[in-house]
Symmetry: C2
Subunit: 208 residues, 2 copies
DNA sequence: TAATATACCTAACTAACGGTAGGTAGTAAA
DNA sequence: TTTACTACCTACCGTTAGTTAGGTATATTA
């Protein structure tokens, strides 16, 4: 593992625990085992480390196979979906699981939660990619289920989207507040609870 | 309005927008219209401003009449609750509404969301008072409803508590990410959406 | 009227920050 | 063998942070 990667990982680790501003280059250098000025051989400014971390994440976000797969795309003709909406949820959940199973990504995710109020780029990423787009996605999901009479007609797709989505976001927030280093058991638990949750919601609104 | 109060309010305003560390005493002093060293006539250290703000909030939290009223206390013998659980929710919601209707409290609430990852006191306050205790409260709520057969017996009070509570927390987070200054319309909307939400949940699990 | 306290000021201090200059040892290419 | 580059070093820079010292004008109290 080369020095630049070590700087990347040490920075990410510290940033995700204390926030960007509270971590000094001296601290990073100490942890890596070099002098602070040597960091400049790899990153020409502190902020470029943060940008690098953030780019690493968004690249993965955009290139995630499952999130972009045809199976994940929701169309009104998707027979499999209509017969088994839980299956469709499962696909999406798989994509998130794949992403968060890498420790780096989980740390970046935490960093985003911590840092979004202090950095305009991260804030707008959170707003668009973590709030608006997923909510649109799930609204569409419930809208189609409603059109196709899989779920009751007195339901509001937009409300249901929030009903569904607020739960895992809450769990993430809870996790990030609770732990500096997030244990694997807690991650597993996150997916279990979210699974129970979607089953509950679907059971509530399905046409019996 | 005396100078100390002005320092309090200006600090709260800036802290809730940019976070504690990103706001300098110069900035606060400029906004108040005095020199930075004059702040020390009122607060002997920067952190004492934050502590003062935080104490102001927790005092209100502990002394909130509605939250401590008998009507709010949940007992298995509470006939009114069993006949109309929506009413019980309404009481709790009133207490929160009363609290957040004061602009200062809303700003402090935002400050807590922003600052909790950087301050151990605020983090543990959030963990205990905003996460653990409310979840216990709502678990108890659903547990009694279940015992008294108001809601279905195949429900899990703990899951229901999270089902209920994750939603308003999500809305708060959404609001704090979206706005620097939170407009009244957004606050009104928060309570409307939360009301729709609890009605939806109760409707889902009620014995018909 | 004299003494005291308050609320502000200017000016300076110390510590820490991100960043730069300039040098050195080791490696690789010409 | 010379040249050039890389990755690191020591030492220092300017800036800004929170904080303190010491002074002044105003208002209150003895």
């Amino acid at each position: 593992m080369n020095t630049k990667e070590r700087i990347f990982d040490v920075s990410l680790d510290l940033f995700s625990k204390k926030g960007y501003d509270s971590v000094s280059l001296r601290e990073i250098a100490d942890e890596v085992g070099i002098k602070k000025s040597s960091i400049y051989s790899h990153y020409s400014a502190k902020e470029l480390i943060l940008i690098d971390i953030f780019e690493y994440f968004t690249d993965q976000f955009e290139n995630n196979d499952l999130l972009n797969s045809k199976e994940f795309l929701l169309t009104p003709d998707n027979k499999a979906l209509l017969q088994n909406p839980e299956m469709f949820y499962h696909k999406g959940s798989q994509a998130v699981k794949e992403m968060l199973s890498e420790k780096r990504n989980l740390k970046i995710c935490k960093l985003i939660f911590i840092q979004m109020h202090h950095n305009e780029n991260i804030r707008s990423f959170f707003k668009n990619e973590i709030l608006i787009k997923p909510l649109m996605h799930w609204t569409n999901f419930f809208r189609i289920l409603k059109e196709k009479k899989v779920i009751r007609k007195d339901t509001d797709p937009k409300l249901l989207a929030k009903e569904y989505y607020s739960f895992p976001i809450f769990l993430l927030l809870e996790m990030f507040v609770k732990y500096d280093d997030i244990p694997q058991s807690s991650i597993d638990n996150f997916f279990d609870e979210t699974e129970d949750h979607i089953l509950f919601i679907l059971d509530c609104v399905k046409v019996k």
